[in-house]
Amino acid sequence: MDKEPITKILQVNNQIDELARVAEFLEELGDDWELPMPLVLSLNLVLEEALTNTILYGFDDENQHTITVGFSFDGEILGITLMDDGHEYDPTLKEDPDITLAAEDRQIGGLGIFLIKKTMDTVIYQRKENKNYLILTKKIKS
């Protein structure tokens, strides 16, 4: 498909209560781009996991930071790029949890990045000019 992609940008402060605004933004995006509701909820999950990590652990000071989230859709591939100016952190290096373990052996937590990897088709990390870029894509079945 050679369609010119449609794009949209969301800027998020490094505060957890911003996640409510992210959910609202995604609902609007889903309406505008005619995305099915289950997909919108999946994208909400991906963004919540990525943003929660960055907001809670990504910054070494108490200052306000802005995380920029770019969305693009060409009718086939949906792309999301998150950019922040926190310390260098490559989430793709995090080891996957062992999901075959019994409840008593399962560790509490550690599922966030794994859910991102399982939900999206590609997850790429880049560090450029002191910024973290997390580049995600998902092929949308039509």
Binding site: D17, L19, E48, E49, P97, I99, E104, I108, G112, F114
Partner: protein, 109 residues
Amino acid sequence: MNVKVAASPDYTLVTVEGRIDTTTAAEFEKSIMEIIDGGCTKIILDCTALNYISSSGLRVFLIVQKKMMSIGGHFRLSSLQPGIKEIFDISGFSAIFKVYADHDAAIKG
């Protein structure tokens, strides 16, 4: 997120509505832990109206499951929406929780 609790002699039925995410998981954990601390060893969690869960919510589910196993109780889930079921499958949680199609099946066990 809303949590409703209905106790009967045999089990406590907990109904959760809305989203269990980073901003609501702590409140959900507190609600469930209060029920367990109150002496309840059998909980059925009706998830009919649970339409979103993130890893923060899954974390609480695992904490509750571990707690229930340690006191010899049980924690049964019923009526998961397809999107929630998918996340349970991806996480391996479908294998570590007792998940039932509906409330009646959860009561029978």
